[in-house]
């Protein structure tokens, strides 16, 4: 399985936001609530990662509830690829 780098995931996250006319800030500490990155945006990002890795990523909802910042998103998806 191809594993996407954190930087590549960040690039895809930027594409998801740009698709909605939003901008992904450079700061990993940026709050998702502040930048308007919603749960379904996360799903869209996960599906884009799947598309590049050709590996389905399945996960339970409780893990998502701890995600609050851009960095959390990147860490979560990077870690998920290793499981």
């Amino acid at each position: 399985m191809t594993e996407l780098s954190r930087a590549r995931i960040r690039g895809l996250m930027g594409e998801v936001m740009a698709n909605q006319g939003k901008v992904l800030p450079d700061d990993d500490a940026a709050e998702l609530r502040e930048i308007g990155f919603r749960s379904l945006d996360f799903s869209e990002l996960a599906l884009r990662v799947e598309d590049e890795t050709e590996e389905e990523l399945n996960f339970d909802a409780p893990g998502l509830r701890r995600i609050a910042t851009v960095g959390d998103v990147l860490d979560f998806l990077a870690e998920l690829q290793r499981q």
């Binding site: 998801v16 698709n19 909605q20 939003k22 998702l32 308007g36």
Partner: protein, 252 residues
């Protein structure tokens, strides 16, 4: 994670719609109606009937049809890919394919129970998952209409497993509408018994009794369900997570 959002844009009308079980009855009528409304339609069923094939011949640039058993996920996936190659990205789904039942629960074979649940509940959930994943992955919005039944809300003998599956789809409709957070509109249409179905299993006396108890004085016809399906796919209404009953108020 935050779901506070920037104002969500309305979900646009569907333009390319996948219809399962589109070869006869209500499914065929839905395919016909959507084509008449100018939409592109991909329709599959276990068998492509001459009627569906004729529709496809009449609208070759706007239809994609094929024989697919809705319980065969791999075949459904292949069909969707081919349909999107031909018609463009899907932004609508009508879960219509289902098998009926006419047997008391105690006399229904275990294998038949499993088949009814697989066809009427598991398969549409799988097809929905497939369609939603394709739409979400490309940042698209879309609409889903589940064809359920009045059986989900009222009890009828001989329809235990069937009713359970339709109730399951009604419940899934509500949860999907919540889960998809306004990116997709998810609704169900629950027809009352169609005259043709009823006459197949009930006698004239029973039919007359049902008609007498229906305020509109008639059983439902497929043509009366079509405008509701079309509205849910095409109109700007903000209806989401609802089950719309079309039964002449027989059930109230």
């Amino acid at each position: 994670m935050s779901d506070l959002a920037t104002r969500v844009r309305p979900v646009p009308p569907s333009t390319v719609v996948l219809v399962s079980g589109g070869s006869r009855g209500l499914g065929l009528a839905i395919v016909t109606d959507l084509l008449d409304a100018g939409l592109k339609v991909a329709a599959f069923a276990r068998t492509v009937t001459p009627e569906l094939a004729k529709l496809a011949d009449a609208h070759p640039e706007r239809t994609h049809v094929g024989p697919v058993d809705v319980t065969d996920l791999a075949a459904a996936q292949a069909f969707v890919r081919a349909a999107e190659d031909r018609l463009g990205p899907l932004d609508g789904l009508v879960n219509n394919a289902a098998v009926g039942q006419d047997s008391l629960h105690v006399h229904t074979a275990a294998a038949d129970l499993a088949r009814i649940i697989e066809t009427n509940l598991t398969a549409p959930l799988q097809l929905t998952r497939l369609a939603v994943r394709r739409m979400l992955a490309q940042g698209r919005r879309g609409r889903i209409v589940n064809v359920t039944s009045i059986c989900a809300q009222r009890g009828f003998p001989g329809l235990v497993a069937y009713s359970a599956t339709k109730g399951g789809m009604d419940a899934a409709t509500r949860s999907l509408a919540r889960e998809l957070g306004g990116r997709m509109l998810v609704n169900a249409v629950a027809p009352g018994f169609f005259a043709s179905e009823m006459s197949a299993v009930l006698g004239q006396t029973q039919l007359d009794q049902i008609v007498r108890r229906t305020p509109t004085g008639q059983l439902t016809e497929p043509a009366e369900v079509l405008p509701v399906v079309r509205m849910l796919l095409c109109d700007q209404t903000n209806i989401n997570g609802q089950v719309i009953v079309v039964d002449g108020a027989a059930s109230i």
